[in-house]
Symmetry: C2
Subunit: 389 residues, 2 copies
């Protein structure tokens, strides 16, 4: 008997979130149920039938930003979990697929446990998505490459702009997304070629930042180059204090450390310093989209569809990268238990200490170099990694 399958999208969108939906729909040979507006829609029973007409609309939006089904943030309680499972049971859904980040993988795992507790058979599969790249176990996740491309280009271009304006304003503090990890902020140096070019400082949440020392460094950069271009991740805590944040609908939303630092610089150095929060465009911009990221997002969706045909459950699609200078990757799976246990994955120390190694790792994802995929774009099959990896 054919399985009944539901798919949803959750969390903050990325530029390629709809590519994963399109890849999944292209690889699934049957009608599918769509969950509207993320886990809220699952709890409230907002389900639609993705028949061939709806499917063609969804696929036409594959290169649009946002989430075609709707996504967003929603706090799950045990009661809501039970309601969600109940809704799935009533709708006779056998398989639940969600595209999302850490919160989504945590919720999928919890739903699976709740289904078991309620004696409901449910296959659960996660498709990774994050601009922060903080998902554990996978080499990287769709959405990150495009956001990293945005940050790298914006930092290079805005630094050149500042350099030209240095008789009028001397310091620009560029604030990136990234939550508690520095992958995205660290990408800001990718296109820097010469010492005098920006960024002159990159502040990561993984590191301690002494405001006095940072301002003194900025003073020296101004003296040496005439200007200072500084990148701070939204999760950076100056002097080990709390991150700058406000609470929105019960969730801590980071942002504002760039203004805090710009104020300090203006007060201490008497120069003009401007904070520039890169904002939502860094995760939404289609113009900055990485072709490689776009393709991988699509492939992750295809891979999930392939898994649906089997019995595997409680797994997330993941990207495995072969060792070596050449970028060779394959799609594989990892247990949701391990993803959840891994927590928010920080930028490893070896990358923090050797930015060039990080840039070499990053370059193929940003998509300006050549890349090879074991799961080739031309192939409709998502190959598993070779035995010898």
């Amino acid at each position: 008997m054919m399985k009944k399958i539901a798919i949803g999208q959750a969390g903050g969108p990325t530029a390629v979130l709809n590519e994963s939906l399109a890849g999944f729909l292209d690889e699934i040979d049957q009608d599918v149920t769509g969950v509207l507006q993320g886990f809220q829609g699952l709890v409230e029973g907002q389900l639609i039938e993705i028949n061939s007409s709806v499917r063609s609309h969804a696929k036409a939006s594959r290169s649009a930003s946002g989430a075609w089904l709707g996504a967003g943030r929603y706090t799950m309680s045990d009661a809501r979990m039970a309601q969600a499972v109940e809704n799935l049971k009533v709708a006779q859904i056998d398989t639940l697929v969600f595209i999302g980040g850490n919160g989504t993988m945590w919720t999928l795992r919890a739903l699976s446990k709740m289904a078991a507790y309620m004696n409901v058979d449910l296959q659960v599969i996660g498709i990774p998505k994050t601009v922060d790249n903080d998902l554990a176990e996978t080499d990287h996740a769709p959405g990150f490459g495009s956001a990293a491309r945005y940050v790298a280009h914006a930092t290079r271009d805005m630094s050149k702009d500042l350099e030209a304006m240095r008789n009028f304003e001397q310091v620009r503090i560029i604030e990136t997304m990234g939550r508690n990890v520095g992958w995205l902020a660290a990408a800001s140096g990718l296109l820097k070629v010469y010492e005098n070019e920006g960024p002159h400082f990159i502040c990561l949440p993984e590191q301690k930042h002494d405001a006095v020392g940072l301002v003194e460094g900025i003073r020296r950069a101004i003296k040496e180059y005439g200007f200072a271009s500084v990148v701070v991740s939204e999760g950076v805590k100056l002097d080990g204090s709390h991150a700058v944040a406000k609470t929105v609908n019960g969730r801590e939303v980071l942002g504002g450390v760039s203004e805090q630092l710009a104020d300090l610089v203006e007060a201490d150095l008497g120069v003009v310093a401007r904070a520039n929060i890169l904002g939502m465009n860094q995760r939404a911009s289609q113009l900055a989209c990485s072709d490689q990221d776009r393709m991988e997002a699509y492939q992750a969706g295809m891979k999930a569809a392939e898994l649906v045909r089997g019995d595997t459950s409680d797994v997330m699609v993941m990207f495995r990268r072969a060792a070596g200078a050449k970028y060779v990757y394959a799609l594989d799976t990892v247990g949701l238990d391990r993803v959840v246990a891994g927590g928010e994955r920080a930028l490893p120390e070896w990358f923090q200490k050797a930015p060039e190694a990080y840039y070499n790792w990053l370059r193929p994802l940003v998509g300006d170099g050549s890349s090879t995929s074991a799961a080739s774009a031309a192939s409709r099959k998502c190959l598993s990694p070779p035995e010898d990896w």
Copy 2:
């Protein structure tokens, strides 16, 4: 005898400012003097010889953001004007070319008058540049098409992102550049296809804005679409009060009206509203660059070089557009007197009242449609407009 020529760049950079420099250098068949860091460099005598080696460096930077020679803001006084003319006289410069906006054209005209007063022969030519599109007399100016492309794409993408997130946050206020005119903010609607898509409101500095009415409109949009995407130009004054601004080095720098409006919305409607200032990337981004804009910036530089070979002075290169649906343009000149007298050019009422007419005018500059130039890109000659225009 060969003229001695100096060229400089001034004001805030654009994504294509260095294209105009490259076009000028490609069309000039001799060494040229470069003025560093805008009018400040002219007053302080920061001149470099652009010999063939320097020229190749400058041309290699044609697609880089910023200003290769340096630009920036600098307040001119009569004493500084006289010093600048004195420096030009000592360096035996016959011709001064500057790439810039309204401030630059005003300064060029004043320098020309000062030179006449001091009995110094000086040919003066301006090359237009502005992201705000507030230069009078010309149909449009290089830099604007790319910034408009940035704003149009960012608004579409960020609105899609917000729509997907509407269970978590409902209102996004996107703040564009544009100083006191609405050309750039009005470009935000260019890619909107359906009524429910963003932007739902576009606030231009040319219009009066009643905060109570605007917040009520936002409330209705949330009710109808589930979210509201609002674009405000940095020069917008809510309730006819002053624009939100701070004074930087004696110059009024606009910015912050989006936060003012977001605070109002949160207080009055009890929803989550986020201000997002597009910031410096909108004028610097190479990824958002319009190919048409890039080409026209280059052509404007070529046209100036052509003018240098003649006796014309006190003019700005300008773009003339033929009537009709097809985009046909030619480069021409207009007196600096008229440009200065024209002041900051607002978005005309007929475009404010008929956005579709404005979008049709805008589309070829943003560069997604086809365009025809009397001064073809293939030709190295910048043709003057046909007689019958």
